[in-house]
Protein backbone atom coordinates (compact mmCIF):
# COMPACT_ATOMS: atom_id res chain seq x y z
CA UNK A 1 0.00 0.00 0.00
CA UNK A 2 1.29 3.42 -0.90
CA UNK A 3 0.77 6.69 0.89
CA UNK A 4 -1.88 8.91 -0.74
CA UNK A 5 -0.79 11.84 -2.89
CA UNK A 6 -2.47 14.24 -0.51
CA UNK A 7 -3.50 13.88 3.10
CA UNK A 8 -3.03 10.77 5.18
CA UNK A 9 -4.50 7.34 5.69
CA UNK A 10 -5.71 6.58 9.19
CA UNK A 11 -6.46 3.13 10.57
CA UNK A 12 -7.46 1.60 13.86
CA UNK A 13 -10.86 3.27 14.30
CA UNK A 14 -13.95 1.60 15.68
CA UNK A 15 -17.52 2.42 14.84
CA UNK A 16 -19.90 2.38 17.78
CA UNK A 17 -23.67 2.35 17.48
CA UNK A 18 -23.85 1.29 13.86
CA UNK A 19 -22.42 -1.10 11.32
CA UNK A 20 -20.77 -0.31 8.03
CA UNK A 21 -21.75 -1.55 4.61
CA UNK A 22 -18.45 -1.93 2.82
CA UNK A 23 -19.85 -2.38 -0.65
CA UNK A 24 -22.04 0.67 -0.63
CA UNK A 25 -19.82 2.63 1.74
CA UNK A 26 -22.62 3.64 4.04
CA UNK A 27 -23.90 3.18 7.57
CA UNK A 28 -26.23 0.31 8.37
CA UNK A 29 -27.67 -1.24 11.50
CA UNK A 30 -25.09 -3.11 13.49
CA UNK A 31 -25.11 -6.88 13.76
CA UNK A 32 -26.53 -8.24 17.00
CA UNK A 33 -23.92 -8.46 19.75
CA UNK A 34 -21.40 -6.56 17.66
CA UNK A 35 -20.83 -3.47 19.80
CA UNK A 36 -17.91 -2.12 17.84
CA UNK A 37 -17.21 -2.40 14.18
CA UNK A 38 -13.63 -2.22 13.01
CA UNK A 39 -13.72 0.62 10.57
CA UNK A 40 -11.79 0.42 7.28
CA UNK A 41 -8.87 2.71 6.57
CA UNK A 42 -9.93 6.30 6.30
CA UNK A 43 -8.40 8.82 3.95
CA UNK A 44 -8.23 12.17 5.67
CA UNK A 45 -7.28 15.15 3.62
CA UNK A 46 -7.70 18.88 3.56
CA UNK A 47 -9.79 20.87 1.10
CA UNK A 48 -10.53 24.53 1.14
CA UNK A 49 -14.10 25.63 1.41
CA UNK A 50 -14.73 28.99 -0.22
CA UNK A 51 -15.95 30.61 2.96
CA UNK A 52 -16.19 29.22 6.43
CA UNK A 53 -13.87 26.78 8.13
CA UNK A 54 -12.40 23.83 6.32
CA UNK A 55 -13.51 20.43 7.42
CA UNK A 56 -11.65 17.27 6.61
CA UNK A 57 -14.14 15.25 4.63
CA UNK A 58 -14.29 11.58 3.98
CA UNK A 59 -12.84 9.96 0.90
CA UNK A 60 -14.10 11.58 -2.26
CA UNK A 61 -13.91 15.11 -0.95
CA UNK A 62 -16.35 17.95 -0.73
CA UNK A 63 -14.86 20.74 -2.72
CA UNK A 64 -17.43 23.46 -2.79
CA UNK A 65 -19.78 24.81 -0.24
CA UNK A 66 -22.83 23.58 -2.10
CA UNK A 67 -21.48 20.08 -2.06
CA UNK A 68 -20.99 20.41 1.66
CA UNK A 69 -24.58 21.49 2.15
CA UNK A 70 -25.75 18.54 0.11
CA UNK A 71 -23.57 16.25 2.19
CA UNK A 72 -25.29 17.58 5.30
CA UNK A 73 -28.55 16.16 3.95
CA UNK A 74 -27.48 12.68 2.94
CA UNK A 75 -24.64 12.01 5.31
CA UNK A 76 -24.24 11.78 9.04
CA UNK A 77 -21.55 13.99 10.43
CA UNK A 78 -19.82 11.47 12.61
CA UNK A 79 -17.65 12.59 15.49
CA UNK A 80 -14.32 10.87 16.08
CA UNK A 81 -13.37 10.45 19.72
CA UNK A 82 -10.22 9.22 21.44
CA UNK A 83 -12.02 7.21 24.12
CA UNK A 84 -15.47 5.69 24.48
CA UNK A 85 -15.87 8.33 27.15
CA UNK A 86 -17.15 11.09 24.91
CA UNK A 87 -16.20 14.55 25.84
CA UNK A 88 -15.29 17.79 24.11
CA UNK A 89 -11.70 17.25 25.09
CA UNK A 90 -11.50 13.91 23.35
CA UNK A 91 -13.20 14.98 20.15
CA UNK A 92 -10.68 14.87 17.33
CA UNK A 93 -12.62 15.72 14.20
CA UNK A 94 -15.82 14.89 12.37
CA UNK A 95 -16.31 13.16 9.11
CA UNK A 96 -19.29 12.60 6.89
CA UNK A 97 -20.51 9.05 6.53
CA UNK A 98 -23.17 8.23 4.00
CA UNK A 99 -26.37 7.69 5.93
CA UNK A 100 -28.52 5.44 3.77
CA UNK A 101 -28.73 3.51 0.56
CA UNK A 102 -29.63 5.41 -2.58
CA UNK A 103 -33.32 5.15 -3.31
CA UNK A 104 -34.21 3.80 0.10
CA UNK A 105 -37.90 4.09 0.91
CA UNK A 106 -38.81 7.16 2.87
CA UNK A 107 -39.16 6.69 6.55
CA UNK A 108 -42.72 5.94 7.72
CA UNK A 109 -42.48 8.69 10.30
CA UNK A 110 -41.88 11.80 8.33
CA UNK A 111 -39.57 14.29 9.91
CA UNK A 112 -36.98 11.72 10.76
CA UNK A 113 -34.18 11.88 8.21
CA UNK A 114 -31.48 9.28 7.85
CA UNK A 115 -28.75 11.44 9.42
CA UNK A 116 -31.08 12.09 12.36
CA UNK A 117 -31.54 8.38 12.87
CA UNK A 118 -27.83 7.88 13.39
CA UNK A 119 -27.65 10.94 15.55
CA UNK A 120 -30.22 9.46 17.91
CA UNK A 121 -28.43 6.13 17.81
CA UNK A 122 -25.37 7.89 19.18
CA UNK A 123 -23.06 6.73 16.39
CA UNK A 124 -19.44 7.72 16.64
CA UNK A 125 -15.96 6.59 15.67
CA UNK A 126 -13.63 5.70 18.51
CA UNK A 127 -9.89 5.29 18.63
CA UNK A 128 -10.02 2.58 21.25
CA UNK A 129 -12.60 0.34 22.80
CA UNK A 130 -11.88 0.68 26.49
Amino acid sequence: MNAPAEGVYVHGLYLEGAGWNKNEKRLEDSQPKELYYQFPILHVSAVSVASGGDKPGQGGGNKAKAELANLEKIAYSCPVYVYPLRNDRYLIFRCYLKAEAAGAPQHPNKGLTAPMKWKLAGVSLLCCKD
Binding site: E6, I92, L120, G122, D130
Partner: protein
Amino acid sequence: MVNQDFLEKVEPYDKWRSIVFALCFMHSVIQERKKFGPLGFCIPYAFNNSDLEASLTYIEKHMTTSLNLNIPISWKAIQYMVSDVQYGGKITDGLDREQFSCYTQFWIQEQIFAPNYCFNQLITEFNYHIPDAQEHPRFMEYINKMPANDGPAIFGLHPNADLSFRLLESIAMINVLLDTMPKDAGGGGGMSREDIVKEKIEKELLPMLPVDFIMIDVVEKLKNLRGPKGLGESGKFDLIPLNIFLYQELQRFQSVLTIVRRTMVDMIDAIDGSIIMTPEIVDSINMVFDFRVPRKWQYDPTGAEISWLTASLAGWLKGLLDRHFQLSNWIFKERPPSFWMTGFFNPQGFLTSMKQEVTR
Protein backbone atom coordinates in the same frame (compact mmCIF):
# COMPACT_ATOMS: atom_id res chain seq x y z
CA MET B 1 -48.04 18.90 37.52
CA VAL B 2 -50.49 17.95 34.78
CA ASN B 3 -54.11 17.54 35.84
CA GLN B 4 -57.51 17.78 34.21
CA ASP B 5 -57.54 21.58 34.43
CA PHE B 6 -54.17 21.76 32.83
CA LEU B 7 -55.33 19.61 29.93
CA GLU B 8 -58.13 22.09 29.26
CA LYS B 9 -56.08 25.17 29.58
CA VAL B 10 -55.44 26.11 25.99
CA GLU B 11 -57.51 25.92 22.86
CA PRO B 12 -57.71 23.96 20.64
CA TYR B 13 -57.80 21.34 23.36
CA ASP B 14 -56.97 18.29 21.29
CA LYS B 15 -53.83 19.87 19.91
CA TRP B 16 -52.78 21.17 23.28
CA ARG B 17 -53.21 17.73 24.81
CA SER B 18 -51.12 16.14 22.09
CA ILE B 19 -48.32 18.61 22.58
CA VAL B 20 -48.36 18.21 26.33
CA PHE B 21 -48.23 14.48 25.98
CA ALA B 22 -45.45 14.59 23.41
CA LEU B 23 -43.36 16.92 25.51
CA CYS B 24 -43.79 14.87 28.68
CA PHE B 25 -42.94 11.79 26.70
CA MET B 26 -39.78 13.36 25.35
CA HIS B 27 -38.86 14.48 28.84
CA SER B 28 -39.01 10.94 30.20
CA VAL B 29 -37.08 9.55 27.26
CA ILE B 30 -34.18 11.94 27.69
CA GLN B 31 -34.16 11.31 31.40
CA GLU B 32 -33.88 7.59 30.75
CA ARG B 33 -31.34 7.98 27.99
CA LYS B 34 -28.73 8.85 30.58
CA LYS B 35 -28.52 5.23 31.61
CA PHE B 36 -26.74 4.34 28.37
CA GLY B 37 -23.70 6.29 29.45
CA PRO B 38 -21.64 7.83 26.67
CA LEU B 39 -23.80 6.18 24.02
CA GLY B 40 -26.71 8.25 25.31
CA PHE B 41 -25.31 11.62 26.21
CA CYS B 42 -21.69 12.72 26.28
CA ILE B 43 -22.26 14.34 29.65
CA PRO B 44 -24.94 13.24 32.12
CA TYR B 45 -27.19 16.24 32.58
CA ALA B 46 -29.51 16.84 35.49
CA PHE B 47 -32.68 17.80 33.70
CA ASN B 48 -35.58 18.28 36.05
CA ASN B 49 -39.25 19.08 36.17
CA SER B 50 -38.72 22.81 36.02
CA ASP B 51 -37.28 22.43 32.52
CA LEU B 52 -40.44 20.63 31.51
CA GLU B 53 -42.59 23.17 33.28
CA ALA B 54 -40.85 26.12 31.65
CA SER B 55 -41.22 24.52 28.23
CA LEU B 56 -44.92 23.87 28.81
CA THR B 57 -45.46 27.44 29.96
CA TYR B 58 -43.76 28.74 26.86
CA ILE B 59 -45.84 26.56 24.55
CA GLU B 60 -48.99 27.59 26.37
CA LYS B 61 -48.21 31.26 25.75
CA HIS B 62 -47.21 30.60 22.20
CA MET B 63 -50.39 28.71 21.38
CA THR B 64 -52.60 31.29 23.04
CA THR B 65 -50.97 34.11 21.11
CA SER B 66 -51.12 32.32 17.79
CA LEU B 67 -54.76 31.52 18.39
CA ASN B 68 -55.58 35.13 19.22
CA LEU B 69 -53.72 36.48 16.23
CA ASN B 70 -54.95 33.62 14.10
CA ILE B 71 -51.54 32.56 12.87
CA PRO B 72 -50.25 29.00 12.65
CA ILE B 73 -48.09 27.60 15.40
CA SER B 74 -44.43 28.05 14.69
CA TRP B 75 -42.85 24.66 15.26
CA LYS B 76 -39.45 26.09 14.65
CA ALA B 77 -39.86 28.51 17.52
CA ILE B 78 -41.12 25.83 19.87
CA GLN B 79 -38.37 23.41 18.93
CA TYR B 80 -35.77 26.09 19.42
CA MET B 81 -37.15 27.20 22.76
CA VAL B 82 -37.27 23.63 24.04
CA SER B 83 -34.02 22.24 22.70
CA ASP B 84 -31.82 25.30 22.83
CA VAL B 85 -33.20 27.52 25.54
CA GLN B 86 -35.10 25.59 28.21
CA TYR B 87 -33.33 22.25 28.21
CA GLY B 88 -30.46 23.56 26.14
CA GLY B 89 -29.41 25.89 28.90
CA LYS B 90 -28.05 22.88 30.73
CA ILE B 91 -26.38 21.26 27.75
CA THR B 92 -22.72 22.09 27.50
CA ASP B 93 -21.60 19.73 24.76
CA GLY B 94 -22.22 20.76 21.17
CA LEU B 95 -22.97 17.24 20.03
CA ASP B 96 -25.49 16.63 22.77
CA ARG B 97 -27.26 19.77 21.65
CA GLU B 98 -27.48 18.49 18.09
CA GLN B 99 -28.84 15.23 19.33
CA PHE B 100 -31.38 16.91 21.53
CA SER B 101 -32.66 18.99 18.68
CA CYS B 102 -33.12 15.77 16.71
CA TYR B 103 -35.54 14.64 19.39
CA THR B 104 -37.50 17.86 19.29
CA GLN B 105 -37.56 17.89 15.50
CA PHE B 106 -38.84 14.37 15.49
CA TRP B 107 -41.36 14.48 18.33
CA ILE B 108 -42.44 18.10 18.60
CA GLN B 109 -43.81 18.73 15.15
CA GLU B 110 -46.97 18.98 13.09
CA GLN B 111 -47.17 15.22 12.54
CA ILE B 112 -48.09 14.46 16.13
CA PHE B 113 -51.61 15.78 15.45
CA ALA B 114 -52.15 13.05 12.88
CA PRO B 115 -54.21 10.14 14.16
CA ASN B 116 -52.11 7.09 15.00
CA TYR B 117 -48.93 9.06 15.26
CA CYS B 118 -46.25 6.77 16.62
CA PHE B 119 -43.25 7.88 18.65
CA ASN B 120 -41.13 4.88 17.80
CA GLN B 121 -39.27 4.77 14.52
CA LEU B 122 -40.11 1.19 13.69
CA ILE B 123 -42.99 -1.00 14.63
CA THR B 124 -42.10 -2.94 17.76
CA GLU B 125 -44.03 -5.05 20.25
CA PHE B 126 -45.24 -1.89 21.92
CA ASN B 127 -46.07 1.20 19.94
CA TYR B 128 -46.01 4.51 21.71
CA HIS B 129 -49.04 6.53 20.62
CA ILE B 130 -50.64 9.66 21.85
CA PRO B 131 -53.82 8.40 23.50
CA ASP B 132 -57.00 9.70 21.96
CA ALA B 133 -58.58 10.76 25.23
CA GLN B 134 -59.85 13.80 27.02
CA GLU B 135 -59.73 12.88 30.66
CA HIS B 136 -56.67 12.83 32.79
CA PRO B 137 -57.32 9.32 34.22
CA ARG B 138 -57.44 7.90 30.71
CA PHE B 139 -53.98 9.27 30.03
CA MET B 140 -52.68 7.80 33.25
CA GLU B 141 -54.19 4.49 32.31
CA TYR B 142 -52.38 4.53 29.00
CA ILE B 143 -49.08 5.48 30.58
CA ASN B 144 -49.37 2.63 33.05
CA LYS B 145 -49.76 0.26 30.15
CA MET B 146 -46.33 1.14 28.77
CA PRO B 147 -43.71 -1.56 29.27
CA ALA B 148 -41.86 -1.27 32.57
CA ASN B 149 -38.55 -2.07 30.92
CA ASP B 150 -38.29 0.12 27.86
CA GLY B 151 -36.15 -1.22 25.05
CA PRO B 152 -33.43 0.83 23.39
CA ALA B 153 -35.48 1.21 20.22
CA ILE B 154 -37.63 4.00 21.59
CA PHE B 155 -34.51 6.05 22.28
CA GLY B 156 -33.48 5.58 18.68
CA LEU B 157 -30.72 3.28 19.83
CA HIS B 158 -29.81 -0.12 18.48
CA PRO B 159 -30.66 -3.19 20.64
CA ASN B 160 -26.92 -3.52 21.17
CA ALA B 161 -27.11 -0.40 23.30
CA ASP B 162 -28.76 -2.48 25.98
CA LEU B 163 -25.71 -4.71 25.94
CA SER B 164 -23.40 -1.74 26.36
CA PHE B 165 -25.53 -0.49 29.20
CA ARG B 166 -25.44 -3.80 31.04
CA LEU B 167 -21.70 -4.07 30.49
CA LEU B 168 -21.22 -0.63 32.01
CA GLU B 169 -23.34 -1.62 34.95
CA SER B 170 -21.41 -4.82 35.65
CA ILE B 171 -18.03 -3.12 35.28
CA ALA B 172 -19.11 -0.52 37.81
CA MET B 173 -20.18 -3.25 40.19
CA ILE B 174 -16.92 -5.18 39.82
CA ASN B 175 -14.93 -2.02 40.48
CA VAL B 176 -16.84 -1.43 43.69
CA LEU B 177 -16.17 -5.01 44.73
CA LEU B 178 -12.46 -4.55 43.96
CA ASP B 179 -12.29 -1.47 46.12
CA THR B 180 -13.79 -3.31 49.07
CA MET B 181 -11.21 -6.10 48.93
CA PRO B 182 -8.82 -6.09 51.89
CA LYS B 183 -5.29 -5.05 50.93
CA ASP B 184 -3.28 -6.35 53.86
CA ALA B 185 -4.51 -9.91 54.00
CA GLY B 186 -1.35 -11.97 53.44
CA GLY B 187 -2.12 -14.88 51.15
CA GLY B 188 -1.25 -18.43 52.05
CA GLY B 189 1.47 -18.53 49.43
CA GLY B 190 4.04 -17.20 51.82
CA MET B 191 5.09 -14.38 49.48
CA SER B 192 4.08 -10.92 50.60
CA ARG B 193 2.42 -8.40 48.36
CA GLU B 194 5.66 -6.45 48.02
CA ASP B 195 7.65 -9.51 47.01
CA ILE B 196 5.16 -10.40 44.35
CA VAL B 197 5.23 -6.92 42.93
CA LYS B 198 9.01 -6.77 43.07
CA GLU B 199 9.37 -10.03 41.23
CA LYS B 200 6.84 -9.00 38.67
CA ILE B 201 8.59 -5.73 37.94
CA GLU B 202 12.06 -7.24 37.80
CA LYS B 203 11.21 -10.27 35.72
CA GLU B 204 8.38 -9.02 33.53
CA LEU B 205 7.85 -5.32 33.37
CA LEU B 206 11.32 -3.79 33.30
CA PRO B 207 12.70 -6.05 30.56
CA MET B 208 9.58 -5.35 28.55
CA LEU B 209 10.14 -1.60 28.35
CA PRO B 210 11.33 -0.39 24.96
CA VAL B 211 14.63 1.42 24.49
CA ASP B 212 14.74 5.15 25.08
CA PHE B 213 14.69 7.60 22.23
CA ILE B 214 17.87 9.67 22.32
CA MET B 215 16.75 13.15 21.37
CA ILE B 216 20.06 14.16 19.73
CA ASP B 217 19.86 11.18 17.39
CA VAL B 218 16.23 11.89 16.72
CA VAL B 219 16.97 15.44 15.58
CA GLU B 220 19.62 14.13 13.18
CA LYS B 221 17.28 11.47 11.82
CA LEU B 222 14.50 13.97 11.29
CA LYS B 223 16.64 16.04 8.95
CA ASN B 224 16.76 13.17 6.50
CA LEU B 225 13.23 11.88 6.93
CA ARG B 226 11.37 12.33 3.68
CA GLY B 227 7.88 13.67 3.55
CA PRO B 228 5.58 13.66 0.52
CA LYS B 229 7.19 14.35 -2.85
CA GLY B 230 8.31 17.87 -3.51
CA LEU B 231 8.09 19.02 0.06
CA GLY B 232 11.15 20.36 1.86
CA GLU B 233 14.83 20.07 0.87
CA SER B 234 17.17 17.23 1.54
CA GLY B 235 18.87 17.69 4.88
CA LYS B 236 16.19 20.09 6.02
CA PHE B 237 13.30 17.69 6.25
CA ASP B 238 12.92 18.46 9.93
CA LEU B 239 10.89 21.51 8.93
CA ILE B 240 8.10 19.51 7.28
CA PRO B 241 4.96 19.92 9.42
CA LEU B 242 4.38 16.24 10.08
CA ASN B 243 8.03 15.80 11.00
CA ILE B 244 7.76 18.61 13.51
CA PHE B 245 4.70 16.84 14.83
CA LEU B 246 6.63 13.58 15.05
CA TYR B 247 9.34 15.33 17.06
CA GLN B 248 6.76 16.60 19.56
CA GLU B 249 5.21 13.17 19.86
CA LEU B 250 8.60 11.59 20.45
CA GLN B 251 9.37 14.09 23.18
CA ARG B 252 6.13 13.37 24.95
CA PHE B 253 6.51 9.65 24.56
CA GLN B 254 10.04 9.79 25.91
CA SER B 255 8.94 11.74 28.99
CA VAL B 256 6.28 9.12 29.76
CA LEU B 257 8.78 6.33 29.24
CA THR B 258 11.23 8.04 31.61
CA ILE B 259 8.57 8.36 34.30
CA VAL B 260 7.58 4.72 33.94
CA ARG B 261 11.17 3.48 34.19
CA ARG B 262 11.83 5.75 37.16
CA THR B 263 8.73 4.58 39.13
CA MET B 264 9.55 0.95 38.47
CA VAL B 265 13.09 1.37 39.77
CA ASP B 266 11.78 3.39 42.73
CA MET B 267 9.32 0.66 43.60
CA ILE B 268 12.04 -1.98 43.68
CA ASP B 269 14.37 0.23 45.71
CA ALA B 270 11.63 1.08 48.17
CA ILE B 271 10.71 -2.56 48.62
CA ASP B 272 14.37 -3.37 49.21
CA GLY B 273 14.50 -0.56 51.73
CA SER B 274 17.22 1.46 50.07
CA ILE B 275 14.96 4.50 49.63
CA ILE B 276 12.10 5.77 51.75
CA MET B 277 8.68 4.34 51.00
CA THR B 278 6.50 7.32 50.13
CA PRO B 279 2.69 7.20 49.98
CA GLU B 280 3.04 7.62 46.24
CA ILE B 281 5.20 4.52 45.89
CA VAL B 282 2.87 2.51 48.11
CA ASP B 283 0.03 3.56 45.88
CA SER B 284 1.90 2.48 42.75
CA ILE B 285 2.74 -0.89 44.31
CA ASN B 286 -0.91 -1.45 45.16
CA MET B 287 -1.93 -0.56 41.66
CA VAL B 288 0.57 -2.92 40.05
CA PHE B 289 -0.53 -5.68 42.41
CA ASP B 290 -4.12 -5.16 41.29
CA PHE B 291 -3.08 -5.08 37.63
CA ARG B 292 -4.06 -1.47 37.38
CA VAL B 293 -2.13 1.49 36.03
CA PRO B 294 -0.26 3.63 38.58
CA ARG B 295 -1.63 7.13 38.71
CA LYS B 296 1.75 8.66 38.03
CA TRP B 297 1.85 7.10 34.59
CA GLN B 298 -1.38 8.66 33.47
CA TYR B 299 -1.50 12.04 35.15
CA ASP B 300 1.06 14.68 36.02
CA PRO B 301 0.98 16.29 39.49
CA THR B 302 -1.50 18.92 38.32
CA GLY B 303 -3.92 16.20 37.29
CA ALA B 304 -3.52 16.71 33.55
CA GLU B 305 -3.40 13.59 31.43
CA ILE B 306 0.05 12.74 30.17
CA SER B 307 -0.62 9.41 28.54
CA TRP B 308 -3.47 7.18 27.43
CA LEU B 309 -6.22 5.95 29.72
CA THR B 310 -6.92 2.25 30.01
CA ALA B 311 -8.46 0.20 32.76
CA SER B 312 -5.86 -2.55 32.99
CA LEU B 313 -2.11 -2.52 33.33
CA ALA B 314 -1.68 -5.00 30.51
CA GLY B 315 -3.67 -2.83 28.14
CA TRP B 316 -1.64 0.20 29.10
CA LEU B 317 1.68 -1.54 28.56
CA LYS B 318 0.53 -2.89 25.24
CA GLY B 319 -0.34 0.68 24.32
CA LEU B 320 3.16 1.72 25.31
CA LEU B 321 4.76 -0.91 23.08
CA ASP B 322 2.44 -0.24 20.14
CA ARG B 323 3.11 3.46 20.32
CA HIS B 324 6.82 2.88 20.53
CA PHE B 325 6.60 0.59 17.53
CA GLN B 326 4.80 3.14 15.39
CA LEU B 327 7.01 6.06 16.38
CA SER B 328 10.29 4.19 16.01
CA ASN B 329 9.27 2.78 12.66
CA TRP B 330 8.41 6.25 11.49
CA ILE B 331 11.59 7.89 12.71
CA PHE B 332 14.09 5.15 11.90
CA LYS B 333 12.62 3.80 8.69
CA GLU B 334 10.21 6.02 6.82
CA ARG B 335 6.86 7.66 7.03
CA PRO B 336 4.21 4.91 7.24
CA PRO B 337 1.57 4.74 4.50
CA SER B 338 -1.23 4.61 7.05
CA PHE B 339 -1.24 6.03 10.55
CA TRP B 340 -2.57 4.55 13.74
CA MET B 341 -4.14 7.74 15.01
CA THR B 342 -4.92 6.27 18.40
CA GLY B 343 -1.21 6.15 19.07
CA PHE B 344 -0.74 9.91 19.03
CA PHE B 345 -0.83 12.14 22.05
CA ASN B 346 -2.21 14.98 20.05
CA PRO B 347 -4.36 13.75 17.18
CA GLN B 348 -5.69 17.24 16.49
CA GLY B 349 -2.11 18.39 16.03
CA PHE B 350 -1.60 15.52 13.64
CA LEU B 351 -4.50 16.66 11.48
CA THR B 352 -3.39 20.28 11.64
CA SER B 353 0.07 19.31 10.43
CA MET B 354 -1.50 17.26 7.69
CA LYS B 355 -3.57 20.25 6.59
CA GLN B 356 -0.45 22.39 6.51
CA GLU B 357 1.28 19.84 4.33
CA VAL B 358 -1.57 19.64 1.88
CA THR B 359 -1.86 23.37 1.51
CA ARG B 360 1.87 23.93 0.97
